[in-house]
């Protein structure tokens, strides 16, 4: 099978060239030991496929295959989608699990204080964190856990179904009572961005903006050196998540609205003037 590189080196003298010509005829023609004197052909300019000028890259939405439900209940349908690296699994329920808010639990003790559902999920072996957001429940396993998700996913799915069927609360009332207003959350998060996060990543030409807060779900955008950066996931999770949750433990899902594949040259994308310290 020809590689795209072979197309790079095809010549203009061979229109419609599809692969390297290794035929005997070609060899004879160019063999200096052949009886007839070899006359080199006029040197052809190497064909070069068009270098595509960079454009914005649109990320498509991948459609999930429809699968038949094998679960016991026909009312509550739960689809479990394992992540590409097998570190997490999203359980998509055909109804809202937690409407208006989201909740993140990184330990069993916090889950037991705030969410009867999350507390049950922590009882499943190897569960390390639980994020409840809208109709989705995202579960991660410990970093040293490997292997298939099927058995773990079945156990988690059974807990979610049983909990919802029983009509038990997903969160305790105290979770909502202690919830700061969106304005208060914005104020705290903007402060930590201005004072801690952005100064620390400015040296890499990056910046993070707070787009909006809905309930306690936070939407951010990464700019400059962050955009397109392979390390940005680590930057986001380790740095921003920790910083946000330290100043506002009630923060639920933190969603990155940055399209990391977009930008004509993301690594060197200019920051907005108001964020450019050198401006």
């Amino acid at each position: 099978m020809s590689s795209w590189l072979s197309k790079v080196f095809k010549t203009n003298s061979e229109p419609g060239y599809t692969d390297i010509d290794t035929s005997e005829e070609r060899f004879e023609r160019r063999n200096p030991l052949a009886e007839e004197a070899y006359e080199p052909e006029e040197e052809a300019e190497p064909f070069a496929p068009e270098m595509r000028p960079p454009r914005n890259v649109v990320e498509p939405t991948i459609l999930l295959e429809e699968t038949e439900t094998s679960a016991g209940s026909e009312d509550i349908r739960i689809t479990a989608q394992v992540s590409e690296d097998f570190s997490s699994c999203v359980f998509m329920v055909n109804r809202p699990v937690l409407a208006g808010y989201s909740a993140m639990f990184a330990s069993q003790s916090t889950a037991e204080e705030q969410s009867p559902l999350a507390a049950k999920l922590f009882q499943v072996e190897s569960v390390a964190s639980v994020l409840i957001h809208g109709a989705n429940v995202t579960v991660t396993r410990g970093p040293l856990v490997r292997g298939e998700w099927e058995e773990t996913a079945k156990a988690i799915g059974a807990h979610i179904r049983a909990h919802l069927q029983a009509g038990e609360p997903v969160m305790y009332e105290s979770f909502f009572e202690d919830m700061p207003t969106e304005e208060e959350l914005k104020k705290r998060l903007q402060h930590v961005l201005d004072e801690a996060v952005n100064p620390s990543i400015a040296g890499h030409g990056g910046a993070i903006t707070l787009e909006r807060v809905e309930g306690n779900t936070v939407y951010i955008q990464m700019l400059g050196g962050c955009q397109g950066c392979a390390a940005s996931t680590i930057t986001l999770k380790q740095g921003v998540h920790r910083a946000f949750r330290e100043v506002a433990p009630q923060v639920g899902a933190i969603l990155d609205e940055t399209d990391h594949a977009s930008g004509t040259n993301p690594y060197f994308k200019e920051l907005p003037p108001e964020m450019n310290a050198n401006a």
Binding site: V58, P60, A80, Q81, V82, S83, W149
Partner: protein, 114 residues
């Protein structure tokens, strides 16, 4: 990242057609599809094969040079070296003369009904 030997693509065009030959970009180089069938007129379906034979650091479907292209749905089947092929379907998307579509997506994790 596996070496992507070949991919087969099926594109259903929506309302606004593509009035030029569809192309794809592999690692910065724009190439034409092979084994092309069908068309990119309004409501038409275009099928073709691409043979990158390379590691797809970037694999893009080119947006139009002029105008806007409404894509109703895309089905892409990938043939990585030494692995089983897999198929993904992408939802509707609109491309213009400033945008390309990311076609490279590694094999997704498994899906279970639980």
């Amino acid at each position: 990242m596996p070496r992507l030997e070949q991919f087969h693509i099926k594109i259903k065009t929506g309302e606004r057609p593509l009035n030029e030959k569809p192309r794809y970009v592999i690692n910065g180089f724009a190439l034409e599809f092979e084994e092309q069938n069908g068309g990119t007129g309004s409501g038409q379906t275009f099928e073709a094969t691409g043979s990158p034979g390379s590691f797809p650091h970037t694999l893009l479907l080119c947006g139009p040079e002029e105008g806007t292209w409404d894509i109703e749905e895309i089905e892409a089947t990938y043939y990585p070296r030494a692995e089983e092929p897999y198929t993904l379907r992408f939802d509707r998307v609109t491309l213009d003369n400033e945008s390309d579509l990311n076609l490279w997506h590694p094999r997704p994790g498994p899906v279970y009904e639980v």
